[in-house]
């Protein structure tokens, strides 16, 4: 490409198809460089809802969020965990660098209360991150969460079962996580700024998973999905 064309392409009025939406995106780096590259704004979107679809618990869905949670806890504001399936284990969080002082765990009795709690937490503007495990999602409730996250400038995360992948959702970012032999495969189902067909492979444990005292940025690699390779 010649120099004059480069010059033209640098004009801010020109948008190229492979560029992700950057304008106004306020993002929280995930701590995984390869994933950051694929997310608009370079990280988890603040002021929006992120939906994470998982087949089963324990495949690393929380570990994927840990570096960002640790980074978010450097600022003030609650990190609300709404209706988690188990009680989060304090020593593990502390070891990952999450400040437990800012952790707020809510265990509402009913599903309606849980949705209300998540919405209030997002809307309050007092939370940097809101992680929620909610049953009986419907589009109206999800939209309320998305709007709440927008008005409260919070990073909202909603964990759902992978079976919901085909449903419509107002979330700004949708990821489906899948355990695989060499790490965690992150399928980006929806993001602002364009479609990505191949999954991002994230190695959460960096090697064999021996003791790690400090959270460091683990290695990532992009692999071709079988569909694309075929």
């Amino acid at each position: 490409m010649n120099a004059s064309l480069d010059l033209v392409l640098q004009h801010p009025g020109i948008w190229r198809g492979d560029q992700l939406a950057q304008a106004g995106a306020d993002a929280l780096p995930t701590g995984f460089a390869e994933l950051d590259e694929q997310l608009p704004g370079g990280g988890w979107p603040r002021g929006a809802l992120t939906e994470i679809l998982i087949e089963r618990e324990g495949i690393g869905e929380l570990r994927l969020l840990l570096p960002a949670l640790a980074r978010a806890s450097e600022q003030s504001g609650w990190q609300a965990w709404v209706a988690p399936p188990h009680v989060p284990y304090a020593p593990a969080l502390a070891a990952a660098g999450v400040r437990l002082k800012q952790l707020l765990v809510a265990k509402p009795q009913s599903a309606a209360d849980a949705w209300w709690t998540a919405e209030q937490a997002l809307r309050s503007g007092a939370c940097s991150a809101v992680l929620s495990w909610l049953s009986m999602p419907d589009e109206r409730r999800m939209r309320r969460l998305q709007l709440g996250a927008e008005s409260g400038r919070a990073w909202g995360v909603l964990f759902r079962s992978a079976s919901a992948a085909q449903e419509r959702s107002p979330a700004a970012l949708r990821l489906r996580l899948e355990a695989s032999a060499n790490g965690l495969a992150v399928h980006i189902l929806k993001r602002r700024g364009g479609h990505l067909s191949r999954p991002v492979m994230v190695d959460l444990y960096q090697g064999t998973g021996v003791r790690r005292t400090r959270p460091s940025a683990p290695k990532l690699s992009v692999v071709q999905s079988p569909r694309e390779a075929a």
Binding site: G58, W78, A106, G125, A126
Partner: protein, 468 residues
């Protein structure tokens, strides 16, 4: 000096009617001799033909639905003190003018409230919100302000030169003198204060007494007037009679909103806040229901109290209809004054304590918590519940799962691939909950990463956590 006088012409009526938005025909009666007469009535009653001064029987004949209450001077005084406490938010110099007036000295706080007009507007809208109708007037002497408020002129006199002229136009019946004196003045043709002032002073004093001359001098500022200022009581307790019984707790919102500004004003007068207050719902036959409201930090923010009260009442069930409510704040805590931000930075981030309070009210206190590590080697004892926001400190950590199962689950060893370990934990022989375990990080066939252990006593394998 600048004084604002507030006169509450319908105070005897409002103490009964302000607890509800809808106005039923209501009359307040007073015994005069051996006959009861209507002292005051509201608009709904006068629309039906009831007039002040009418015998009770006549009023009841005109309006069948008329609610009749006997005048209660004690409650009127209490309400006046309540308004005085509320007015403490504007100025610390509040003086009672019994039975139905208040005087506020405002020269020192005009700048705080951004000018006289603004202050007056805040006063009016605040009183209206609490359900009181008032006439106000402003003058450089307290007595002149009071006479102008009584006349309902709404005059504002800030220049001494205009005082005598405007005051002179007021009728003599407003003066605080014996009825015979006032009748005597009318008889000699002195109908206004100007007429009185034109008469020779010595003669006026001889004929009607020195008090009359003194009162005129006080109004004109020629004689100083020492006023006693209102001292707030050590704790806050206000009662409000409801005009009709209320069955649903949410129906008490309106009445409570009438009382909360008084609490706020009282707290600002004392430079204090509350961490806990209670709303007592008085029933006829059964014991009173007490609704308690707690805050994370002492506060006196009206909006916050409204919000929490509304949400608490939404979750409250009443055993019986309520005929009166009481607002009590027993423990008054000093509140640190924070200066307002010049650039309003704090408005951007939300109020974390408010969120915590709201969640606690709706979900219950136990459902909202924080977690903290605890110094123990046994995984199940290495953490504890704590109040959200407690600084727990942290301990040096090893690799631990993010979800710890409340109870270890027995599992089959052959389905797991051990990734790392063992980490031997042997502890707790001193409290009877001793463990002797070898912990491993294991990969399950289905992709989950588990924290498993082999119990060294029994040889069994258990899952204790998930590396979520």
């Amino acid at each position: 000096m600048l004084w604002v006088a507030l006169h509450f012409p319908a105070l005897s009526l409002e103490i009964f009617s302000r607890g509800a938005a809808a106005q039923e025909p209501l009359a307040v009666i007073e015994k005069q001799g051996n006959r009861s007469r209507v002292l005051a009535c509201n608009e709904a009653a006068s629309a039906l033909g009831v007039k002040p001064g009418m015998p009770v029987s006549a009023a009841q004949a005109l309006a069948a639905r008329l609610v009749v209450r006997s005048r209660d001077p004690a409650v009127e005084q209490e309400s006046l003190s309540g308004i005085a406490a509320w007015a403490g938010r504007f100025t610390p110099s509040v003086s009672l003018q019994p039975p139905d007036g208040l005087l506020l000295e405002i020269s020192g706080c005009l700048r705080l409230h951004r000018g006289f007009g603004n202050l007056l507007n805040q006063l009016r809208s605040g009183l209206n919100e609490m359900g009181y109708a008032s006439n106000d007037a402003c003058a450089i002497t307290p007595h002149a302000a009071w006479l102008l408020a009584l006349a309902g002129t709404g005059a504002v006199i800030r220049e001494p030169a205009r005082l005598e002229k405007i005051l002179g136009a007021l009728p003599v019946r407003l003066l605080d003198q014996a009825p015979e004196t006032l009748a005597g003045l009318e008889m000699i043709g002195a109908h206004t204060l100007a007429d009185c002032l034109r008469l020779p002073r010595a003669g006026l004093a001889r004929r009607f007494g020195q008090e009359l001359v003194d009162e005129l001098d006080r109004a004109l500022g020629k004689l100083p007037e020492a006023r006693e200022f209102f001292v707030p009581p050590p704790s806050f307790e206000r009662r409000l009679e409801l005009p009709a019984q209320v069955n649903e707790a949410e129906g008490l919102n309106f009445a409570a909103r009438r009382l909360l500004p008084e609490l706020e004003g009282y707290l600002s007068l004392r430079q204090a806040g509350v961490q806990e207050f209670e709303l007592v719902c008085c029933h006829e036959d059964v014991p009173d229901t007490v609704v308690r409201l707690g805050f994370v930090q002492p506060t006196r923010a009206l909006e916050r109290m409204h919000l929490l009260l509304r949400e608490t009442l939404a979750n409250t069930r009443l055993p019986a209809p309520v005929h009166a409510i009481k607002l009590n704040a027993k423990v008054i805590l000093p509140l640190e004054i924070s200066n307002l931000d010049l650039f309003q930075d704090s408005a951007e981030s939300g109020d974390g304590n408010l969120l915590l309070e709201r969640l606690r009210i709706r979900l219950g206190k136990e459902a909202v918590f924080g977690i903290a590590p605890a110094p123990d080697h046994r995984p199940e004892l290495a953490w504890r519940f704590c109040e959200a926001g407690d600084d727990a400190g942290s301990l040096p950590g090893r690799q631990r799962p993010l979800w710890l199962l409340p109870k270890p689950l027995a599992c089959q060893h052959d389905r797991l691939v051990l990734k790392s370990g063992p980490e031997r934990i042997e502890s707790g022989w001193w409290d009877g909950m001793d463990v002797a375990r070898d912990y491993y990080v294991a990969q399950h066939k289905n992709g989950s990463r588990l924290w498993v252990y082999c119990d060294r006593a029994s040889g069994g394998w258990y899952v204790h956590g998930l590396f979520a």
